[in-house]
Subunit: 339 residues, 2 copies
DNA sequence: CTGTTAGCGCGTTCAT
DNA sequence: ATGAACGCGCTAACAG
């Protein structure tokens, strides 16, 4: 920051008027004549004036900015949610600050601190896999910063959430496998602290139940669902000599790890693989043309969550009630062109 | 913003001291006694004081924040660069604001405006495919905001860049195909306004030349390299009845589109496909285990670019000379386990 | 419609 | 070592 010290005072002085008028003109206030407004805008452009949002926001005590916290931006589900958030926020004149926790509680805390210190007007977040204590979240709430969770939400009361019907997703995925003739379906699950994984597991159980297939605990493998976890899971199954003819993975990464490994050792036990993942995910469509996925409507989640958040931001005086919106996922079966 | 109106004045009043002392204590100034410092910090915590970074930054005229502009965060190359940026920035006490232009010039302009208005200390960016006029960039420079480009850079003088040796990447990719026995190699290229695509094309030409393979203009197809472009490219080739036995795609998306389509119509003309893409990209490794990629060291690029930017931010008085750093890409040939 | 005054919350002079 | 006062750049309140 060296050049560009042009302030509204400078341009006021140059025009021999008051800086308030300049401020009003720059904000397109109706309380200033067209003529002077024009004069001011011209002068401003001429002098290379640029508004200092820091000062403006400080004075107004509003930043028109919302913070977004996701585990990883590179995950296609999250980046599609972000797309929805940005579109919606932009239309309402809000800027978006994107942050990633990298699944680490420590970073998540740090991010919330920074966002709060920067006085964002609200926060949208999906919590990390490590997040089992919610002090940092409670603190944010106490500071009066509106908060909406999407997909992964903390297990505390009075929160606003935009969720996916994970029970149905798990049910559909499992049901699909059963309809394909699978009898021994393995489930790769995630940390049980996260409701999304718990719910998918419940859906899995329910689907088995309805088809009179006994639930077997050794078919459930919990991990953090990274690609290498998928590899390890499948290795473990093979080492145990467990019979399985289908896999329902609670996300795509772990499924990919598993499929890669199966390809590598030239074994192809599962008749089909269902993934609770994101259908737009390029991986899913490429890895196996016959792959079935549970489509999570990322863009719509982002849009819905943002709408809800903005509603809370704009009505902070009237104490709005908290809300949980549940969107539906869809099973998408691709054309099996290769086999 | 409703609760939490605790300021340094409040805590000063509570302790019957002056707010200056509080400010100094909170900034761990040596000019305040250990004892009072402790007293103040305790009181601050007790009262739930949170620094207002807007005010602090306004006063200091420094934000300790850098802006990052990329075409799309969902592209694995960019998200890995961002990883490198965040790690490096964090160690130096800087925050990062991530923005995506979605390959649109209009958005790119808008983003730079916002970043400048928010007084970021510097900007790291990779320009969009639409960016052929650089007024917005020149303006940012004129405002004295340090700027470093990575990967995609504008064609103007006196810029700081961290680039990849794309000529060598193109050469290596093509050479690899030739060594596999390909004689008729198609090249999917991008907008020629971007040096990266021009350079990859040059590398392609050079490799042909050294192997005495004649260059044929109809083998070069330029597009914006989205997945559907890859599909269209391959359709075009087939429609023209052009003979080809290899494809060198300037990015991974277009290659994936092409491969998908070839799979779909059960044609398998190319003996191999080389992609200039990112080796960590899950797609590349999954789509075809024998796929060869040109690895771009994203994390290192992010780190290098950030180091360079911070250097410029910190030495704004001493007029540093501009610099272009070129990192090497690597050809990675995977184990051909399937064929 | 425009000017005057005051202050957002903080950090940095000066003093003492 | 601490206090008093000013100002970063902008906008809201109140005049007129």
């Amino acid at each position: 920051m060296k050049a560009n010290k042009v302030t509204i005072h400078d341009i006021a002085k140059a025009l021999d008027i008051n800086s308030s008028t300049v401020s009003r003109a720059l904000n397109d206030s109706p309380r200033v004549t067209k003529k002077t407004k024009e004069k001011i805008l011209n002068k401003a452009k001429e002098m290379g004036y640029k508004r200092n949002l820091l000062a403006s926001n400080l004075r107004k005590n509003v930043t028109n900015t919302i913070g977004v916290v996701v585990p990883r931006i590179s995950r296609h589900f999250f980046s599609s949610v972000i797309q929805g958030i940005e579109e919606t926020a932009y239309l309402e004149g809000y800027s978006v600050i994107i942050c990633q926790s990298l699944e680490q509680l420590k970073r998540e805390k740090n991010i919330l601190e920074t966002l709060a210190a920067n006085r964002v007007d609200g926060v949208l977040m999906s919590i990390s896999m490590e997040t089992t204590n919610y002090n940092h979240i409670q603190e944010l709430k106490q500071r009066g910063i509106p908060l909406v969770f999407f997909d992964r939400h903390p297990n505390i009361s009075k929160t606003n959430n935009v969720l996916i019907n994970d029970f149905k997703g798990g049910f559909d995925a499992t049901h699909h496998l059963i309809s394909k003739g699978c009898k021994n379906i393995v489930h790769f699950s995630g940390p049980q602290e996260l409701a999304i994984y718990k719910n998918r597991l419940q859906g899995y159980k329910q689907a088995l139940k309805e088809s009179n297939i006994p639930f077997r605990n050794e078919y459930i493998i919990s991990s953090r669902l990274m690609e290498h976890d998928g590899v390890n899971n499948i290795k473990e199954l093979i080492a145990k000599n467990l019979i399985f003819d289908g896999i329902f993975s609670a996300n795509d990464l772990a499924a990919i790890g598993a499929i890669k490994y199966l390809n590598e050792i030239k074994v192809n036990i599962p008749k089909d693989v269902a993934i609770v993942g994101f259908s737009n995910e390029p991986i899913s469509t490429v890895i196996n043309p016959s792959l079935t996925t549970i489509n999570q409507p990322g863009f719509e989640i982002g849009k819905t969550a943002t709408d809800l958040l903005l509603q809370h931001i704009k009505n902070q005086h009237t104490s709005l009630t908290t809300e949980t919106i549940i969107l539906e996922s869809n099973l998408i079966e691709r054309q099996s062109s290769n086999r």
